[in-house]
């Protein structure tokens, strides 16, 4: 915050301050509400975000993320990736970082329902968008059918690619409830598994698709 204030024009400053005040208010409300109605807070981008012309960073700045249906405010530098924000700032360590270059997809999360690499996404970019991590798949203490099927079909070996695989497979079933084997292969084509447990991943996903009908 120190860093950006000196760079702003008076007009930008005004906008920035009011926005920050808004975020602070929203953060307090969230903290109070989450305890009472966790899970009920669904994010609605009801009003278009105000024009954001403030220069942020390079130091820490407040960023409000919508993660697994909850509003979370973090203080991060603009260079912080979504993967780092989730793991280091929000303690959501289910999302794994392996290659850190978008080549292995272990870091897969959903952005507005679509699988993306959180390691190649800046956290500051996803303000106003809905992030779903592997922690957000289970509902009311019940695992997602894909998670259940991964257990049943022994689809994890070392387990490091598993959260990313699960997000890709659950993402597929969300947009295509009747996938073929080839559809599953295509959906996981970016997810590298060093143990080579792909056949079990395919099996688990097809079986989850059947159960979800």
């Amino acid at each position: 915050m120190k860093n950006d204030s000196k760079e702003r024009s008076p007009e930008q400053k005004k906008q920035g301050v009011s926005r920050r005040a808004f975020l602070r208010g929203a953060g307090v409300t969230t903290a109070g509400t989450v305890a009472l109605a966790s899970g009920m807070l669904s994010f609605k981008p009801a009003e278009p975000a105000p024009a954001k012309t403030a220069i942020l960073g390079p130091g820490e700045t407040e960023v409000t993320l919508m993660v697994n249906g909850q509003q979370r405010t973090v203080r991060i530098e603009p260079r912080t990736t979504l993967a780092d924000a989730l793991r280091e700032h929000l303690n959501l360590t289910g999302t794994k970082v392996v290659c850190d270059r978008g080549s292995c997809s272990a870091c897969t999360v959903w952005l507005d329902g679509k699988p993306v690499n959180s390691c190649m996404t800046l956290a500051i970019d996803v303000e106003g968008h809905e992030v779903t991590t592997v922690e957000g798949l289970a509902k009311d203490g019940e695992l997602h059918p894909v998670q259940e099927a991964f257990i049943e079909h022994d689809a994890s070996m070392c387990g490091f690619c598993t959260p990313g695989m699960v997000m890709s497979c659950a993402g597929l079933l969300a947009r295509n409830p009747n996938p073929t084997l080839n559809d599953v292969k295509m959906a996981t084509s970016g997810n590298l598994c060093r143990c080579g447990t792909y056949p079990k991943v395919f099996e688990a996903t097809l079986s989850a698709a059947k159960k979800m009908k």
Binding site: T53, I55, G57, P78, R79, G102, S103, M120, G190
Partner: protein
């Protein structure tokens, strides 16, 4: 990653005003955190920053600018899409699948599903090459303002077989192979207004400018990508060969767009990807097809012609054979 400032541009005009450098410039002349560059999907930009070969001072994010992610098609004007349209948007467009088969094939075979959801078409056309020497902070190569090309004397199995003299990197966009085959155009917006140029003129070979792959200036942003209309006689296909079937960078990819009159080929556009520092038209091969009924014999002739003048390096001679086969297969698939 170096620390940088970040700003969400509210409009194209303001983004142009805020930027002062292309990414290539920021890697050669405006180094050390002084450059203000624009960012679209960010997949290539973050990669460059993470490798330490790009150190921008400020990123100007284009994602909040309204209207840049529109895709439209009509019979008369063809296909148009904004720079923030993702590769997945092309893949999921029924019009692209129905009318622009080569582009559809290129989109479905690019990168991973995750990257396709993130990577924008503007960014795809502006991305930097994947040459491992260029991507390595330990190699001050010609493309980064140095005097040595390490690929010409080193490991070059994935490099160019055409235009290899100055820098034999290959252009990284496999979508561009299809877009050039359709005779696509790109609209660039700068402080003076808009200019529209053919994509075949947009990309520049290393002989012209080794440090940059296109003609966009440090205050220009791609604002539209246009493909001409197709008709019943248009036949097109695209094939990409990688080392793995799941996903990979291209070892060679070919796009073919034919204008057929019954069995006779009236017009042809053939483009090679991962063969040169630019998506490479093969006009001599196109001439072989024009005016003829397409038989296997004719296609073999065209394939031979397409590889004339190739100057493969020490480790990529296989590409000469690969491209001949790919061209044959792509033409045969196109005419069905």
């Amino acid at each position: 990653m170096n620390r940088f400032e970040y700003i969400k541009a509210p409009s194209i005009a303001e983004a142009i005003d805020m930027m002062d450098s292309t990414v290539p410039e920021a890697m050669v002349t405006k180094t050390g955190g002084s450059a203000k560059v624009v960012k679209a999907g960010g997949t290539d930009l973050l990669d460059l920053i993470k490798e330490g070969i790009l150190e921008p001072g400020r990123l100007i994010d284009l994602k909040n600018i309204p209207g840049l992610d529109k895709l439209s098609y009509d019979k008369k004007n063809g296909l148009q899409f904004g720079p923030m349209v993702t590769i997945a948007d092309l893949e999921n467009s029924p019009e692209v699948k129905k009318h622009y088969r080569a582009l559809y094939e290129a989109a479905t075979h690019a990168a991973t599903p995750q990257i396709r959801n993130m990577a924008t078409m503007g960014g795809n056309l502006m991305q930097r090459p994947r040459c491992w020497y260029f991507r390595s902070s330990g190699h001050h190569c010609r493309k980064k303002g140095g005097t040595t090309c390490f690929a010409q004397i080193g490991q070059n199995q994935f490099h160019s077989i055409f235009l290899t003299n100055v820098c034999p990197c290959v252009h990284p966009s496999s979508l561009a192979t299809a877009l050039v085959a359709y005779d696509g155009k790109v609209e660039l917006t700068g402080p003076e207004g808009k200019r529209v140029i053919a994509l075949s003129e947009f990309f520049t070979p290393s002989e012209v400018n080794v440090t940059c792959e296109n003609v966009a200036t440090n205050q220009e942003i791609i604002t539209n990508i246009m493909l001409p209309p197709v008709n019943e006689g248009t036949r097109a296909f695209y094939i990409k060969q990688g080392q793995r079937e799941s996903y990979d960078w291209s070892m060679g990819d070919v796009a073919v767009v034919l204008q057929m009159d019954g069995k006779k080929c009236q017009d042809a556009r053939i483009v090679f990807g991962a063969a040169a520092p630019i998506p490479l038209r093969r006009e001599a091969a196109e001439e072989v097809l024009k005016g003829k009924a397409i038989t296997e014999k004719v296609v073999v002739q065209a394939a031979k012609k397409a590889l004339e003048g190739a100057t493969p390096l020490a480790h990529n001679g296989y590409k000469v054979h690969l491209f001949q086969t790919l061209l044959k297969r792509t033409v045969m698939e196109a005419i069905g």
